[in-house]
């Protein structure tokens, strides 16, 4: 039996008065997938997440999570959520805070206590379990927030900018937790504008601009995609350079510097061999993959979709 998609939306939209926050969101994310939601500020990322977790009622369209329609109460027991600009009940201690939220998830007391201790350990806050949240730094708040989202061992978790405010150690922690979640089969919906973050954690990304998905991308395909190669050579003529066209395009020669876009990695030794047989001295070949950042700029534009 095939599993229902973790997230399935069809032409989901939200308008606030005249302002269209999300235009027409159509997505399908499979269970166990780590999905990155990318877009410039104001593109509608947070509004989309808020619709999916039931904070905002969509203006039109439909959506289902884990096979259940949005708004179903029992569905929320299988979902975790870390909001973007969160503030918590800061008069509670870390342990009380997690216990409260576990109770709201309807978790049984014994299981909850064990889970709270386990999560405090996992996010590195064991030593602060009895400290009031009001004394926490931003990074510690982010950690306790993440623990809160994972209390119920959700099948689907929404993380809205989970690494904002975190130092590099905290970021690595979040990255590791996301990887663990993937191994456990949890679907992670990651909202971030930290592209490097997305690049290392996600299976698939959606670029969103002006409230619409403008590109969907398997991140694995980035590995086999085009390579930008820069070479340092001497004795290369324009004519010899033009002869590289079977393996590459956008060939540009600037003095001793040659840049081109190789079709794939296998083209590199052949390019090298071609140059050597044409009596060109090759000092350096540096292949560079198209980064997610370049793709982002290509897709959304330098103005960031404004």
């Amino acid at each position: 039996m095939s599993l229902a998609p973790a997230v399935e939306t069809y032409e989901l939209s939200k308008t606030f008065g005249q302002n269209i926050a999300v235009k027409s969101l159509t997505l399908q994310i499979q269970q166990g997938e780590v999905f990155g939601f990318l877009g410039p500020n104001g593109a509608g990322k947070t509004t989309s997440i808020k619709m999916l977790v039931g904070l905002i009622t969509p203006t039109s369209g439909r959506a289902a999570l884990l096979g259940a329609p949005l708004g179903q109460r029992s569905l929320r027991a299988r979902i975790g959520f870390l909001p973007e600009h969160f503030r918590f009940q800061d008069w509670l201690t870390a342990r009380e805070f997690l216990t409260l939220h576990g109770q709201l998830f309807g978790m049984e007391r014994r299981r909850l206590q064990a889970r709270v201790d386990e999560l405090l350990e996992r996010v590195g806050l064991s030593d602060f379990r009895d400290k009031a949240i009001v004394t926490f730094s931003k990074g510690m708040l982010q950690r306790i927030g993440l623990a809160q989202a994972l209390l119920n061992q959700p099948a689907l978790v929404f993380l809205d900018e989970p690494t904002s405010g975190l130092d590099p150690v905290g970021r690595i922690l979040v990255r590791d937790i996301i990887r663990e979640l993937r191994t456990q089969g949890t679907c992670v919906f990651l909202n971030s504008h930290l592209l490097s973050e997305i690049e290392v954690t996600c299976d698939r990304v959606a670029f969103i601009s002006h409230g619409e998905v403008i590109r969907l991308l398997e991140l694995a395909s980035l590995d086999t995609g085009q390579l930008t190669v820069s070479l340092r050579v001497s004795g290369l003529t324009a004519e010899t350079a033009a002869g590289l066209s079977p393996w590459a395009e956008a060939i540009q020669l600037d003095g001793n510097h040659l840049t081109l876009k190789a079709h794939d990695e296998a083209a590199l030794p052949e390019i090298n061999q071609y140059l050597v047989t044409h009596a060109v001295a090759v000092y350096e070949i540096v292949p560079r993959r198209v980064s997610l950042e370049e793709l982002f700029i290509q897709t959304v534009g330098r103005d960031g979709g404004l």
């Binding site: 977790v53 939220h101 998830f105």
Partner: protein
């Protein structure tokens, strides 16, 4: 455990940790000390010349009236403190949590939004109950110990005062589900002012035999029946004689009917239902 009780307890713990309870207790105690000293000073002074012929007979009536008057004055102040506390608690709760975003991790749990409203309402109702019990009990006890006076229909009167504060708290919560805390405070105190002045117009109208003025009072009571609950409470607890003495802020000359009390109960329930409806539909 039922989410309503989890959230009611959370509301209670919040009030304790945020020192709302401590502040209320300390200021309440200050109020009781001042009231008791004041009562002592007035109680020990006699208004009747000690050697007059009628002294013994009238003295007794005077003492009882004095105690009754001061008791109602004390309760009037307690009512106002209860209302202020109710408005402050109710005004910040939903608006504050929507504004800060703490509500987002609550309502995305597998609970109903109405559970949040009921839970907070219950928590505040408990807090107000304790606060009023301290103040009302303190005033009653202080007078009882110093003069031996106990007002008639005490339980009914105190319950009506409690209900008035619940009504104000519920109205504040309803506004708070839609407007900011500051706007809510403005609206609630505005409505309270309206009912207050309406109550006075009704009282003066009753004394001056002006049915139109009484009608104006009744209409404002229909808009918000808080003041009529106080007037019913003071009517229940006043001594039979002071009812005849006419107009005073602590007594009632035009008495709200039991129908008005029933209306207030329905009003409270309707406002609570409205709060749930607004909060249920609101984008957070």
């Amino acid at each position: 455990m039922n989410p309503v009780f989890i959230l009611a307890r959370m509301t209670f713990v919040q009030a304790v940790r945020r020192r709302i309870v401590l502040t209320g207790l300390l200021l309440g105690l200050c109020f009781l000390i001042v009231f008791s000293i004041g009562f002592h000073m007035i109680n020990t002074r006699s208004f009747v010349p000690p050697n007059s012929a009628e002294a013994t007979g009238i003295q007794h009536i005077y003492d009882a009236e004095k105690a009754s008057g001061l008791f109602l004055a004390g309760m009037y102040a307690v009512t106002f403190l209860g209302i202020a506390m109710a408005a402050l608690l109710g005004a910040d709760t939903l608006a504050g949590e929507i504004n800060s975003g703490t509500i987002q991790v609550i309502v995305t749990k597998p609970i109903r939004r109405s559970d949040v409203v009921f839970g907070k309402w219950l928590g505040f109702a408990g807090l107000l109950g304790l606060y009023l019990l301290l103040l009302e009990g303190g005033v009653t006890l202080s007078i009882l110990l110093q003069s031996g006076y106990v007002a008639p229909h005490l339980a009914a009167g105190l319950a009506l005062i409690y209900m008035e504060s619940l009504l104000i708290m519920t109205v504040a919560m309803a506004c708070s589900s839609r407007f900011s805390a500051l706007a809510t405070g403005g609206i609630v105190f505005g409505l309270y002012g309206l009912s207050f002045i309406g109550g006075w117009i009704e009282q003066i109208g009753a004394v001056l035999n002006s049915p139109t003025a009484v009608q104006v009072g009744i209409i404002t009571s229909l808009i918000i029946p808080s003041e009529s609950l106080w007037r019913r409470a003071s009517y229940e607890m006043q001594s039979p004689l002071s009812g005849l003495l006419g107009i005073s802020p602590f007594g009632a000359s035009s008495v709200p009917s039991l129908l008005m009390v029933a209306y207030a109960v329905l009003y409270l329930l309707a406002v609570l239902a409205l709060t749930i409806r607004i909060f249920h539909r609101r984008d957070l």
